[in-house]
Structures are given as C-alpha cells and as structure tokens.
Assembly symmetry: C2
Homo-oligomer: 392 residues x 2
C-alpha cells in the first residue's frame, strides 16, 4: 500500500547495481495513466544541494507544478558531482518520461537520490535499471513495498503510511537515518494523494505540513544535500478537501513519518520529545527546544538514562531565546526536577522508570509567555558512532 493506496498511482522497485551488495536501489512512483498531475515539493536549503535537488526544483518551475512521476535511487547521493551529476539526473528524468507515456517531457519527472556524497553516479547500472523499474510498476501492495525498500540506506525498516481524509487518501513512503536535522533530514519522502487540489494549494499544504513535522526533527543537527519531500495529486477520488483538512492530513502523514525516522535513527536506543512551553514566542520556543535536542551532552545523558537537567538548563541559557533562570521549570515524563531555576525534591523511582523507557519526554517551562514548540531527537551512543565512523 503506502504510495499506491490513493487511487491512480503505481510504484515499483528494483536492484540495478548502484549498491554494491545488490540490494534494491531504484524506485519509481508514477501516475497509473502516465499523465502529469499537480505536484509540489520541499527541498533542502543546503547550498551544496545535490544534482537531483537542482534538477527537480527546476522541473517543477518549468512544468508549473505538474509531474507524472518521481524516480528515486539509493546508494549514491550524486552530490558534489559537478555538471556531470546534473546531466545524469536529466538523462534519468528524460528516460522515465519516455517510459511513462506519450506527451510527457523530462520536466514532468522528479528525481530524488540518497547515499554517499562526492562519488559520480554509476550510470551503467542506472541505464539498465530504468527500463526494469518502469516494467516493475504496478498498483500492487508488493510493488509499493519494493519501492519503499529501494530508497533505504542505513534504515533498518521500510517506512510506509496511509491516512484517510474525508473522501480522499494520502499515502507515503520515506527513508531517513542520520543527518536528521531542522530544515529537514537526510531523508526522502514521497507522498501521493487522490484528492483534487491545484498545484498552488498543494504546495502550500505541503510546506505547512513539513514545517511542523520534519523541520521539528533533529538527530545530529546536520542538514543533508539531498533532502526532498514531494507529493503528487492524482485527483482520482473526485474529492476536493478544504485547505485546512488537506494540510491536517498531510501533517499527520509527515508527523508519523518523522516519528518513524526518529525511532529508526542510526544507532539510537531512545527517542526524546523536547517541549518548550511559555516562551515569549513560538519561534523562540523552537530555538530553545532545538538547542536542547541537538546538544551532544543532553543526548549522551539520554543514552545513560541520566536525568541530568543541569545540561538542559545550560542549553536553554545558551539558545539565545529570552530566558530568566528564576522562572524555569523542567520535567521528565511528568516528574518535575527543577522549579524556579533550582533542583527540587522529586520521586526518584518514577523518574528512573521514565528514563529507562524507550521514549523520554523533556518539558521545559520558561514561564514567560505563550510560545510553544516540540522537537524530536534521539540519544547519542555507541551505535551512532559505529554507523558513522567510516563509510566503508
């Protein structure tokens, strides 16, 4: 299911040989009839954006926000690969356009890639794989599962979801591992919907959904060269949702995908939700929550199940948000450990039980205003280092 759950979509996934181990590495999501439909995307703001991001951004502009499909590959980021990298992506888009249907241009195809940076894309395998993934496409459950597996890198589980709106559906698949940062993660997500919506409204709804979800997720503060969240809207349900409902459903989809990414982040043993309440503004609450969530020291404490709130206070004070230590309270899982900026007696047994769990909730009340935000993060332990110390 996932991306083929909404009416009007097909998907496929094959192993073309980008990954040395022979795993699935080339995926396609497209309209079933090969026609271009309203499409939108949010891309990384990294100034070293990968070739696929440069090209897809241009294609959406040229097409006026319409696409017939997206081709995705894993194992090579095709970033820092110069003009050749861009030409390779253009070639992929053109080949997929020809394969999908008469009357399509290359700019009706989006491309997303993930993997190692700085290595030229092996086009031999890609050229052999494109006809195969086009042939593999179908509305079957198995085909969409293959597509979801074909975008995985260090993910340990495939990430798929379907959410039902009133008279329409939204499906999605995603990958994400380390480098899950504000302003998106090293993550790719492709959403499909059978709602009737024009490109402009689709883009607005997607941006709103991303800013409240993926942009509130931070594992290590790194922002990838390749981050892409895209959506295609077939209109096949015949239902035209209100803007608020569409944004809400997209937010649910992105929120659950973000949670799945945190749960499966490289080497993580815990997921933490850092909430900041009563900041002077939502923006300042977000800045403070992000500072706590991205702190290596806070993340190490999570790894050790140590409720060392002194590090949380220190990060709140360093965040640059308005701050008055005398007004700060901090809770772990509902157990208040700091009030008015000082430690207080608390239930050590309840606190230890909460810290031992898989999910830790850190709530910081700044006592100043009405601003609120939450950021999702993970612990930092041996597993993250094992995954990231070498690329071989």
């Amino acid at each position: 299911m996932s991306v083929t759950a909404p009416a009007g979509f097909v998907a496929g996934g094959v192993a073309c040989g980008i990954k040395p181990g022979g795993g699935l590495d080339l995926a396609l999501v497209a309209t079933a009839d090969g026609l271009a439909v309203p499409a939108a995307a949010v891309f990384t703001t990294n100034r070293a954006a990968a070739a696929s991001v440069q090209v897809s951004r241009r294609h959406l502009t040229t097409s006026g926000g319409r696409a017939a499909g997206m081709v995705l590959s894993s194992g090579n980021a095709n970033a820092a690969t110069g003009a050749r990298g861009v030409a390779d992506v253009e070639e992929m888009a053109a080949a997929v356009a020809v394969g999908l249907g008469a009357g399509l241009d290359a700019h009706h195809v989006l491309v997303a890639q993930t993997g190692l940076i700085g290595i030229p894309l092996p086009m031999g395998p890609v050229r052999r794989g494109l006809p195969a993934v086009l042939a593999d496409r179908s509305g079957d459950r198995e085909a969409s599962a293959r597509a979801a597996r074909a975008i995985m890198t260090t993910d340990t589980v495939q990430k798929e979801i379907v959410v039902h709106g009133s008279g329409f559906r939204v499906g999605a698949m995603a990958k994400g591992a380390a480098m899950l940062a504000p302003n998106m993660a090293t993550m790719l997500a492709i959403l499909t919907t059978d709602a009737v919506v024009d490109p402009h409204d689709l883009s607005a709804a997607l941006s709103r959904a991303v800013s409240g979800t993926f942009n509130r997720l931070s594992v290590d503060g790194s922002m990838s060269t390749n981050d892409t969240v895209a959506i295609l809207a077939s209109g096949a349900s015949g239902s035209t949702p209100a803007a608020a409902e569409l944004a809400d459903v997209l937010g649910q989809v992105c929120g659950q995908l973000a949670r799945m990414m945190a749960e499966d982040a490289e080497g993580a043993t815990k997921v933490a939700v850092v909430r900041v309440l009563r900041a002077v503004s939502d923006e300042e609450a977000h800045r403070a929550a992000r500072q706590v969530a991205e702190s290596q020291l806070v993340q190490c404490s999570l790894n050790g199940a140590d409720p060392y709130w002194g590090r949380v206070v220190s990060e709140l004070g360093a965040a640059g948000a308005t701050f008055d230590l005398d007004r700060v309270s901090i809770e772990y899982g509902g157990v208040t450990v700091c009030r008015a900026g000082q430690g207080i007696d608390h239930d050590d047994v309840a606190l230890a039980a909460h810290m031992a769990g898989r999910t830790v909730e850190i709530t910081c009340d700044l006592g100043l205003g009405t601003g609120e935000a939450a950021v999702l993060t993970t612990d930092l332990g041996y597993g993250y280092i094992d995954e990231n110390r070498t690329t071989s």
Copy 2:
C-alpha cells in the same frame, strides 16, 4: 610556576571535600602583598550563568576593574542554585578578602567554579577549606601546581603555561574538558602578569586574546554556565608593554591553553584544525569553519580516520555562509581531495597517513574572497560517550 611565574603573585590548592573522592578542589591565586591590582575577565554569555559568574561580573564593575585575588573550586558548578548560590559565592569572596589583607572588600575577590550543575554548593567543606587554602598560598612552584590541579574536573592533565614578553611575563592555569564551544568552553582560565597596565587596556587585550583563541575552540558546541577567563596584573616588573605586544602575548597564552584543552578533551583521540580560506569575510569563514568543526558526522569520520569530504561539503553548504560549490576545494593535511566541488584523484597513501595521525588538518578553500578562520575541534568516539552518559 604558571600563575606564580610573574612577579608579585602567590597561589595555593587544597582538598576541602567538595569532590567526594577527596581530590584537590579549592584553589587560590592572589597578589603576594594582598593589594588590589588591575584585573579583567571575560565570562560566558550563557543566560543561565552560574552564581560565580554573576558575582564576579558585579565585583569587577564595583571595583572599577581591580582585584586582589581569585578563589576557584571544582566539583560543583553552583549553577541553577538560586539566591542561595549567589549568597554562597558572596560569602566565599568576603572570607577571602578578609584573609588576604586589610582594607580589601569582598568585591576585590573574584570567584570561579566548575562541576555539576543544579546541586547546592556544600558550604561546610568550603568554609573549612578557605582558611586552609589561604594558609597554603605561596610563590612556590608546588603551590601553583596544586592550584592548577584543584580546578581539574574530567581533565587528565593539569594545564599551566608561562610566556615571556619584553620585560614582563604572563602565566596561566586552566581547566577544560567537554562543552568546549564557541563563545568559550566549560573552562576556567586564570592569567597573571607582572606588566604595568591599567584595567581598561587589560580588559581590551584579554577580550582580543579570547576571541581569537578560546572562542575558536569547539568540541561539542555546548556553552557552559561557568566559563570564565580572568587576569590580574601586578605591575611588579615595572615594564609597560605596548598594547599590541600585550595582546599578542595574551593571545599566545590563550592559544596554547586552548590547544591543551582540545588535546585533553573528554575521550578524544584526535585534534582537528578546520580552516576556511577565501570566504567572503572572516566572519563567514568562522561560521563555516565552526559548522564543519561541530558536525557530529565530521567528528565521527575523524574518529574512524575516514577522509569523507562529502560531509565537509555538506556542512559548508549548510552553514549559511556565501557558498558556490563549483569553487570549493578541500584538503586533508595538504592532500587535495576535492577541487571545483568534485572529487579528484589523489595520493591515497599520503592521505591515509595523515588521517592516522593524532592531528588532522582540514582546509576548505571557498574560492570567493579573502576571509579566513580556523576552529579547533576533536573527534567523537566511544570515549566522549563513556565520559558523558552518566554523571555518577
């Protein structure tokens, strides 16, 4: 030697019982004659500043930049300890003022503390320790070594230095471990000089020295509640250095202390110097270098001796500094691995040899302007996690 190398200073260090293990934990640096002399300090900008920072900042203002000594303790940060924490520091300063000499006020004594946040300072041990450390003070080499050891927390070696100017000397001791971040580290440094210099010029020279050294050091991006760099100037040499020479010598002292801190950072196996050249401004070069240096992914690669320059490019692109990927070159230890934004053939043997060393040099040429900066950091490995996952 160190802080007692310049003429006119005494120091001492004792174990008073703040540290449960019985290690040295209370230090004093003071003028030999007990008179107040020109003094200056740079403090953390963390808004959750510890009691010692709040009080010392006020004392320097009240005294017009004069102090007769500084008392330092380790094992408890006395941060997030409310009004009681401030009163405890005031009591310490007052007791030391009485012990040092007639005519001194509490505001002629500075205080610096380091250790765990959020735990009230155990004043019983401190009250017993203050007369002991006052009695211990002398110009002996052993006394200053005791002082340097008494400020250590997770440091593995004491950090002392003396630099000679023309006709004057500057001595210093410091501690630093994790939380070494831009805008200072969890670090304390106290400098002494026998140069003749007024408080205003002393403050200007110290600020300049700190901004080019401690503020260019980042281990984990965390900014402590307690960071303090202070200097006392006895004038006992009779030499009045030019402002430029004084700033230069202070810069040498702070630069070498910063390097010692990086070498001894918690669990680090490597020190890395990240240089950014040809940015559009020094400020942007610093921003870009800091982004690379603080990247958990780059730090993990250092731990694995993996010259994965793709992560460096990605962080440069994410830094917010002006950036054109097509103009970027990256070198590790003089071996160019990326030119014009793409990987190039290089000497793998020389590269592997450089990566295997204790110090790694990463140089990023942005090809845009004349801005330059360097930031010092370390790798991220099991050792950092072992040190920081629990406080017990």
